[in-house]
Amino acid sequence: MAEFEKEVAVLVQRVVRDISNAFKKNPNIDEIGIIPCPEPRYNRSPIVLIETKLGLESWCVKFLLPSLHRKLLLYRQRKNYLDREALVDVTVTLLLLNPDFTTAWNIRKELLQCGLLNPEKDLYLGKLALTRFPKSPETWIHRRWVILQFLQQCCAQKGCRKEQCEGYLCHTEAMGSSQNLCTHQAKLLHQEMSVCSEAAGRYPSNYNAWSHRIWVLQHIAKDNVEVFLEEFSSMRRWVSMHVSDHSGFHYRQFLLQALLTELCKAPHMSTAGTTLYQQGTTTTSPSARLTETRAAFGLDPSGTERQLGGGTIAQLFDLEMEFCSELIHSYPGHEALWCHRRQVVFLWHKWRRDHPHFPCNTNEGNGLHLSISKDNGQAFSSVEGSINGLPCGDAMEVDGPPDPCNAKQLKGGPLMSGSLALTAEHSFVSILLDDCGHSEQRRFALAYRKWLGNISRQ
């Protein structure tokens, strides 16, 4: 027995060392995994490093994990001593195998607080753990803690004023176009978005990944409309390709709601589009921001001279409804799409109720014509032809004789008032049901109709 334990101890030591060496050898490891292998083969290390992929042969896990686990808990109870290096190595191996081991993350937090660990290294470890366990709640929780530390540090270095640090947002005049975030924050934001995207791709409707993404926006890009617009724009393509991902659609709804709030914040909105994004941004020129807004919402970015007002809000809703209709027709029987429809209609209904005197028809009054491109200006149209069978039509000029189908968008359309919108929705369902043999689609359409009846009573 003692002999066996000794052997295990030697094995564990070797594996931990090999993992540590693998990271030294290739600091760009981007994925970890377990290689099914019930018995040890030859006399070689169970660690396999191929280019940027790190694999661990399965046979050793049952020795490795309990042994390291015990070691760390004994340390935690002050029953044995581990130096900094040993602690780092042991927690790395443990967390790559069992990332919900909260206490191991906490030990790393303590090392970080003492300056014995680099926060970037820890974000990297979490990212790797998520390649194998994309939902792991503790990994996401630790990430948020590290980010807050990082932001505080970044603010301190930049010598930000206190009130800015509280929101973890640094406005630095010098950064110019780069979304009013300092370089560190812009980089961090970009990194977090890509970690979330990867985890969302690995596990459908990944609650923890998407709620982390929302948190990141709320903490790093608070009040930064450009970031929200960029996200809204790129999400259009993502949800088109993941039509059953309810979490992805929820995120889009979150963005829509946030942007709506921003649009409503601007004073004298119906007459002065250029004051739209006074909040939070000072470096980008108003007209440039307007261009971005238009592009993100699927409007022709060149139409910058046009006014954004209540009519535009109506238009934005209209475009979102049209997008949703396209998806529902192209991919029948997806509950997530019907849920999205409910949210958009609800938001519109609520907005109309909260802003009864908001002018919706400025376009009509001024005789303005907006150029509308059906697909998204930037991210979406960069893909040629179609995405997943979804048509991406060419930009549609509606300046000429009005097309009856698009005229409604120009003049505020069926969404002009709450009750009219609901009527249009009822007819959408009726037309769809007339010609629908898809049982699930029918079920969702009928449930939606029932829901419409309910909302109109609210």
Binding site: V61, K62, L65, P66, H69, L73, L74, R76, Q77, N98, D100, F101, T102, T103, N106, K109, K135, E138, I141, R144, W145, L148, Y203, P204, S205, Y207, W210, S211, I214, W215, Q218, S244, D245, H246, S247, H250, Y251, F254, Y331, P332, G333, H334, E335, A336, C339, R342, Q343, F346, L347, K350, H438, E440, A447, W451, N454
Partner: protein
């Protein structure tokens, strides 16, 4: 064209009767099994695992089979200087396990085994400016922790130790347009979070502040053609949502909105007739996108469907006796949360989920 619906098909030969004795043996046996590896990977949630297992045994009137003294000693050794309780010895304290520990000791009428004042101080210190609760000293915020805080304090009769009004405001700020709740403001609705938030509002006497019809609607839409419940739209049914969804519906008085017979059949079909215990879901899976369904850390759970004459407490929220809080709160607690499983006329059977993975050892 056409999409395969994300659901399961229940086979004709699936179990259709409750094999209660097998389940009891199954859980009792878990206490003695100490596979090194399995034990290790789930130790971070041991305290909750013990609670789930004991509650099932209690509901089956089998609690005496478990070693009360050993468990009590274990819990005492998990209380830390700060007052918080950890999942196991040597782990760090957290609100999640503080609630589980208090729940276990409530089962045994023995919360005094803990330093109760310190538990209260621990929880109190975790409340934030905006009324929310951090799960531990590292500061993560989640509506689950709001629930843990008030449920623990309610069991200890100390709900007045925190700023309840602010706590309520925070939870309400996490309500979504669909009537549901997420983990933080702006987050997606999720059946597990909804349970925590409705439980929270029930304990704090604020159920009138949610839109019961709207929420009930969303919850009922979790039922799939197989009878099983999922936790969010377009997710597969999982037997653990029988608890989260049903308990929430019960709390808001809309339990009759779902098809009980179908759900019952689904749950029974999840049983393992040979070993006892329940699987996530029965039968062949219609896999929509070819993605293997990887069991999450807690999704390998089992449910026990209990007999009609069960007259016991709910699984996750409280206990029938020993409420030392003011009578009004106590009654509310009883009525709205505890009664979710005691009102047997409305509910043909009480449901309880137990995470198999977590009940590895009762020390």
């Amino acid at each position: 064209q056409g999409t395969q619906i994300k659901d399961v098909v229940i086979k004709d030969d699936a179990p259709n009767a409750l094999i209660l004795d097998k389940h009891a043996d199954y859980i009792a046996a878990y206490g003695s099994k100490k596979d090194d590896y399995e034990y290790t990977v789930s130790e971070y949630l041991r305290m909750s695992g013990i609670y789930w297992g004991l509650t099932v045994m209690d509901l089956m009137s089998q609690l005496p089979r478990m070693n009360c003294e050993e468990i009590t000693e274990f819990i005492k050794s998990c209380q830390h200087e700060c007052g918080g309780i950890s999942a196991s010895i040597g782990h760090d304290p957290h609100l999640l396990y503080t609630l589980s520990a208090v729940q276990i000791l409530s089962l045994y009428d023995n919360v005094q085994a803990l330093d109760v004042d310190k538990v209260v101080e621990y929880i109190k210190a975790l409340q934030q400016e905006d009324g929310s609760f951090a799960g531990d000293k590292w500061g993560e915020i989640d509506t689950r922790f709001s629930f843990c805080a008030v449920a623990t304090l309610a069991l200890l009769g100390k709900l007045d130790a925190i700023d309840v009004d602010k706590a309520v405001e925070f939870v309400l700020s996490c309500m979504n347009f669909d009537g549901g709740f997420g983990c933080r403001p702006g987050s997606e609705s999720h059946a597990g979070q909804i349970y925590c938030c409705t439980g929270f509002l029930s304990l704090t006497g604020q159920l009138h502040r949610l839109n019961a019809d709207l929420l009930g609607w969303w919850l009922c839409e979790r039922q799939l053609p197989s009878g099983g419940l999922n936790g969010r739209p377009e997710k597969l049914p999982d037997v653990c949502y029988s608890w989260w969804v049903l308990a929430s519906l019960k709390i808001i008085g809309r339990i009759h909105w779902i098809d009980k017979a179908k759900l019952r059949a689904f749950i029974l079909a999840c049983q393992d007739e040979e070993t006892g215990g329940f699987a996530d879901r029965p039968g062949d899976m219609v896999s929509p996108c070819g993605t293997a369904v990887r069991p999450s850390r807690v999704s390998r759970c089992c449910d026990l469907q209990l007999q009609r004459n069960v007259n016991q407490s709910p699984a996750n929220s409280g206990r029938r006796h020993n409420f030392k809080q003011p009578p009004q709160l106590s009654r509310k607690f009883e009525q709205s949360v505890a009664s979710s499983l005691t009102d047997v006329d409305q509910l043909p059977s009480a449901l309880l989920r137990v995470y198999v993975q977590a009940i590895l050892a009762f020390m």
